[in-house]
Amino acid sequence: MQRNPNHTTICIVEKVIDETPTVRTLVFSDDVMSKVLPGQFAMVWIPGVNELPMSVMISNELGKAAFTVRKHGPASTALFNLKAGQQIGVRGPYGNSFDLKQGKILLVGGGTGLVPMMRLLTFMNPQDDVTVLIGAKTKDEVFFEDLANKLLTKNIHQVIVTTDDGSYGEKGYVTDMVKKLVDVNHYDGVYTCGPEIMMFKTVQYAHSKGLFVQASLERMMKCGVGICGSCCVGEDLVCRDGTVFDGDHLLSNPEFGHFHRNKAGIPEIY
């Protein structure tokens, strides 16, 4: 019988990789999750604690997948603290995926928003000329730079890191770098995932240059399947209509870049 994606499957954490002091990658075996599309996510159950939406991270081993989690509130911290051998539940994969363009490609990621970007890199064509922008507050928080370079060995590519405090790579906001790049280059596709303000600016800049741009959004999620309504952004449900949306669609959405909803469903300003 085919697995019902909405029913939780238990997986064992097999390996825990420290990415930064506050970010870890948990690797597990699951055929379904190993094959998801970039932008897709899972609902991840930390038994006895909570369940969180998580982008599905790639693994370099066949049949495996991973979650890359930043410790934040109680739920993500519990996930972060799991050890190899412990159980997690997964359901999904949920959501749509990026529309792949060919040619000159720009990826803009911040924090765990890099997770779908890494999976997207595995879908690049050898002919693509790929630029990856990684934004972080400070040196300590930079991760996936090496991984991005490794995934792009067959491509003309550059991986640019920016830190707000200049402790590593280029100094400044990653969106300043986006502006610089789109001012002088044409890109056939711009893809972004990370903090909403970062995505908002990236979409604005790219769109103002007439570039094809897509962003993968995050919202409060309970069901992941378009039932509960908690992930709504204007008329859209992030879990079902997204997480990936076209830039022009997003710019016409009055909530994108401005509001997200809290657990009671009340909009809060970013």
């Binding site: 019902n4 994606p5 909405n6 029913h7 939780t8 238990i10 609902m43 159950w45 038994p47 006895g48 604690v49 909570n50 369940e51 969180l52 739920a75 159980q87 539940g89 359901r91 309970k222 069901c223 399947v225 378009g226 039932i227 509960c228 309504g229 908690s230 709504c232 204007g234 008329e235 449900l237 079902r240 909803r261 809290n262 657990k263 009671a264 469903g265 009340i266």
Partner: protein, 303 residues
């Protein structure tokens, strides 16, 4: 002549007989607009309380292997005051406001919030099976039901629907009580109290342990309730529970429902399900010689 799928539930007139059930995508006016555009005859809001509620921690919902869902979102909602403000601009969408509370005053307070809104009806949630002090715990107390329905009927002229479920007091008694106090219509059924245990972790999956079963598994039970209510009482009924195809909807009409609500089917089939069901109903009516929904209502009782 093309059959008409407009219907009326007592004094509530609807252009289309398939509504959005409470608690499904029910917290944003923008989303309501989209659902209405996609075929919903009316939308029922998430059940609202006096104050905003965060609800239970996740997992709050998951799908069963054999179909259907169990949820215990814990009635998370932005609260009646915020909600009233949000829907004030609405003029075109038939909105049914669902309310939960523990005492008559809760309901009175909430209805006052909506004074400046165009509301099609209120639906009293007497049947949520997984939150303490509200929902079923209210529905299970006949005295309290009496007080609440009476107070609500005295507070507003807008039609009042009572939504019932399977609790410790038999739902037919609750329906009877509500009718005595002047209720305008009944929605049957809410989710049915249920559980699933994960054998690998050896614990209930939902953070609240207990949740409410919805979707195809409960359809035969909900249908029987509609048939029982319509056999016993003369009250307009809105059928709800596991409806996901036009055939399901027609079964409910034939059993005695004047309109239906759908919830879980949206998770299973997404928003196109409204138009699918509406056009399926229309086709069935053509093929079976019905020109109005009214002609179908309760036909199965005559066999």
């Amino acid at each position: 002549m093309e059959p008409s799928i407009s219907t009326s539930v007592g004094s509530i007139n609807l252009e289309r007989p398939v509504m959005l059930a409470s608690g499904i995508l029910g917290i944003s006016l923008d989303v309501f607009r989209r659902l209405h555009r996609n075929g919903a005859g009316a939308v029922v809001t998430k059940s609202l309380s006096k104050e905003p509620w965060e609800g239970y921690p996740n997992p709050t919902i998951f799908g069963l292997k054999n179909g259907g869902w169990i949820n215990a979102v814990g009635l998370s909602n932005p609260g009646a005051p915020y909600f009233a403000k949000m829907i004030e601009p609405n003029n075109e969408i038939p909105i049914i406001v669902s309310l939960v509370g523990s005492i008559p005053e809760d309901f009175e307070f909430m209805i006052k919030q909506f004074e400046n809104c165009k509301i099609t009806a209120y639906e009293l949630n007497l049947s949520c099976p997984h939150v303490a002090k509200v929902g079923l715990e209210v529905g299970d107390d006949p005295e309290l039901v009496k007080k609440i329905v009476t107070v609500v009927k005295n507070t507003t002229k807008i039609p009042i629907i009572a939504k019932v479920g399977l609790g410790t007091t038999h739902y037919l008694d609750t329906v009877g009580t509500a009718i005595e106090c002047g209720i305008d219509a009944i929605t049957a059924l809410n989710t049915i109290r249920a559980m699933a245990i994960n054998v690998d972790t050896k614990r209930p999956i939902l953070s609240n342990k207990y949740g409410g079963l919805s979707g195809p598994p409960i359809k035969p039970i909900a249908l029987r309730c509609v048939y029982e209510i319509s056999s016993k009482y003369d009250v307009p009924i809105i059928g709800c529970g596991g409806i996901s195809t036009w055939e399901d909807a027609v079964e409910f009409f034939l059993a005695g429902a004047s309109a239906v609500q759908i919830g879980s089917a949206i998770g299973d089939n997404w928003i196109g399900v409204f138009d699918d069901i509406n056009s399926g109903i229309k086709k069935y009516m053509s093929e079976n010689g019905f020109s109005t929904i009214r002609e179908m209502i309760g036909v199965a009782k005559k066999s």
